[in-house]
Symmetry: C2
Subunit: 476 residues, 2 copies
């Protein structure tokens, strides 16, 4: 983290001439997104091979915007652009790129350049990039790096993906308990080169390097020089190095943390996580939930056509099977449909409304589980409330549709059967929409994944069975 | 913001006895969520009216956890709990509560207590709480507050909801351009009472109070005393006071900002937004997208049964209408179904798979639009790719289902019709799933809202029409 904030300043500082300022205005729209015209300019310059113009255009951009630009370019244009990026800029862009694009970009950068670029990153970003390299290239790049940097990266990669250990940066600012504010400030001024560029808390550690408290930098700044750190330090929330990143994000959000110390199993301070890394995690987790609910495995947004097909077809295939099973219910009532063919038309309405009601409940439950507002404590009450909601929604819709069907077909029994089936299905939909994610969560699985398919199956099956079954009993 | 981090420390500092530490362990699980046993203890103490025990139990909790606890209690239990909260704790809890619960809690707190509690909050939190009060009570509470505090809150409330003006806190740390590091630090030490408890950047302002740069506190700390602020300051990203909070969140995420100055139309510094407020916004916006895609208007998670019904029935009603229109397609083919009743069973499979494929595309497009990875720049390419994906998924599924249907019914023409209809519908699904959100976005509307209903309608309609139409042409 942290580095980027400085970069922004650097980029803008470089932009002193009027020409550059005009370019900046051209680059980003009012909404801080890249202008299509600017992207066309880049593509034109690439096509002409105009290195001078490219350097000018890219110079007007923050690394985060260059990363965005890469996302908007075709794979070929990206490949052409890479040689025009100086190694420093490349280092900055690499931590901003989405994984799929990054993997592709990394293939086109020579190992020596990469080793240098990675050396300039903070430990968490560096490890991420190295992790994306293919085995051969990874070995080459690591071999080209200084011993200590390599060791740090390898240590970070030893932690599991999506844990605090992978998220943390190893650069921390620590001070012994017995220091005063003045001693700490003097030390920092002397040892400027050893400090991270930006930090928010000084962790106060005991002799075994366990964090015993934290002093926010602003508190340090406004305290008198002779005050001992131990006197002003605040209690810290320690993050175990193997904690899942979703858990870490929950704690940061809940307690409004800006940074938190990461500790090894023995309690020793090994790094810190800062809130700006958490912002990324929260975005990611929210995105994962939306995509999982919609039945998309693994984001795969930047993947090519084949990657996208692979990310979507598993759930479609599963849905095909459940849809076939539900359809077999209709098959079982073929005789009834032949006698009263209107059943075939009304049938899908019952199933569709059930599916929609279930999706509503499901989305609410999945979000509530993610933010821990739904747990064993209020599960029963929530399910109860959902059942009530299902009954009420069902009754309201049954009333309206029943009336419409009566007006259209002048058949009181048909409209009764339809209304009743609708009520049954909306009740079951609400129940399933709440119970399925709760059960998955209780089993320790992600409630967003696979809930949709299962719940849709339940409402299709119930919808067809309730409507055709009641029709067979009452109408025929 | 900021205050909470201190509270955490205070709460934990108070917890010096062993008894209290045991209680803390009992309160929160490994995952930092409240333990059901602890919640039961609170409910028991409430039932017994055991004020002593309640104080003990609540004392072990961070205000954020007390807020969570309130969410887990029934409305009656919540009401009983309120008198047991001291005014200071109440102030802290109020900014943590979800809107619906907060509105309910506010009804049960006397105006004088509220005025005092609100006075202790930062301007953004205070304004939020006052905004939730009913007109009568709001007037009473404001009347009971000191003139300046009232003026600040009224000024904040004058900004539109969900804008930077509402999100910002008015407490900022600013310094004139000509100061040195030493002058700034000395000033802060002298004027400690005027400083926010926590801050991350010192904004450097010109004589007309326009921000010209920012000095991160950690940079201030490690710079030599005689360095002028103007020399070390970094360029800032100014946030216009009327910017939408989603936009603000995008900028914070993109540039990894920790805090940013908020400026009036003339450019004058009026407040700052800090990243921990943004974490809340990102959570909120992600949640809004999930719920909107699922057809839930306005969160309404903590609403009662009636509120929940109201939040869900509009989309169900709309879905009922579109389902009826789609069903009319089936109605138009009654004659064909009567002749070949298996059509009625296979029909919903085509529609269901189309609906699922469209939902996948839709979710990916909505997220890409939200993170600005999809825009006018790559819209055409994205739609083209989705069409390819739809064709390929359609072809793969058509092959499998066609084969199964041939094995089951020994009818090559039936399996051909089914496969062709499936391919058509998956192609249309991918197209609609990409074009509908893009069009809504281009029209300046939220692409997550109403896309689902529209897209499902398209795939139901197309599915029924393609399958039954082809069947009528080819099979009968």
């Amino acid at each position: 983290m942290s580095r980027e904030t400085d970069d922004l300043a650097q980029v803008k500082d470089n932009a002193h001439s009027d020409l550059d300022e005009d370019l900046e205005d051209l680059a980003l729209g009012e909404d801080y997104a890249l202008n299509p015209e600017f992207v066309s300019d880049v593509v034109d310059a690439l096509d002409r091979g105009d290195a001078e113009r490219l350097r000018e255009l890219l110079g007007a951009l923050h690394p985060a915007d260059v990363a965005d630009l890469m996302g908007f370019l075709s794979a070929d244009a990206r490949e052409e652009l890479i040689p025009h990026l100086d190694p420093e800029t490349l280092a900055e862009i690499l931590s901003e790129l989405d994984t799929e694009i990054r993997e592709e970009v990394l293939e086109h950068v020579p190992s020596a350049t990469l080793a240098k670029a990675i050396g300039e990153m903070e430990s968490d970003d560096a490890a991420d990039v190295v992790d994306d390299l293919e085995a051969d290239k990874r070995a080459q790049v690591l071999a080209a790096m200084p011993e200590t940097e390599r060791a740090t990266i390898e240590a970070t990669l030893a932690y599991e993906d999506e844990t605090a250990g992978r998220l943390m940066q190893r650069e921390v600012v620590a001070a012994p308990q017995f220091w005063t504010v003045g001693q700490a400030i003097d030390h920092f001024r002397r040892e400027v080169d050893d400090l991270p560029e930006l930090f928010f808390d000084v962790y106060v550690v005991d002799p075994s390097y366990k964090p015993v408290g934290a002093v926010p930098v602003s508190l340090l700044l406004r305290s008198k020089r002779d005050v001992p750190l131990a006197q002003i330090m605040e209690q810290v929330t320690e993050i175990p190095v193997d904690m899942d990143q979703e858990e870490v994000a929950y704690i940061f959000d809940k307690y409004h943390l800006i940074s938190a110390p990461v500790v090894e199993p023995g309690g020793r301070l090994v790094g810190q996580i800062t809130v700006d890394d958490i912002v990324g995690v929260i975005q990611e987790e929210g995105e994962e939930d939306i995509l999982a609910l919609a039945g998309v495995s693994d984001a795969g947004r930047d993947a090519g056509v084949w990657g996208t097909v692979r990310s979507r077809i598993p759930w479609l295939a599963l849905n095909m099977i459940t849809a076939a099973v539900s359809a077999s219910v209709i098959g079982a009532f073929q005789g009834e449909i032949q006698k009263l063919v209107i059943l075939a038309a009304l049938n899908p309405i019952v199933a569709s409304l059930g599916g929609n009601a279930a999706t509503q409940t499901l989305a609410v439950a999945v979000r509530a589980l993610a933010s821990r507002e739904l747990s064993a404590i209020n599960a029963l009450r929530t399910v109860g409330r959902e059942m009530m909601v299902g009954l009420l929604n069902g009754a309201a819709l049954a009333l309206v549709t029943g009336l419409v069907i009566f007006v259209l077909f002048r058949d009181l029994r048909l409209s009764g059967v339809f209304g009743l089936a609708l009520m049954i299905n909306l009740f079951v939909a609400s129940l399933a929409g709440a119970i399925v994610p709760l059960t998955l969560d209780r089993m320790g699985r992600d409630p967003a994944v696979s809930s949709s398919v299962f719940v849709t199956f339940v409402t299709d099956f119930t919808g067809f069975f309730a409507f055709l079954g009641l029709a067979a009993l009452i109408l025929l």
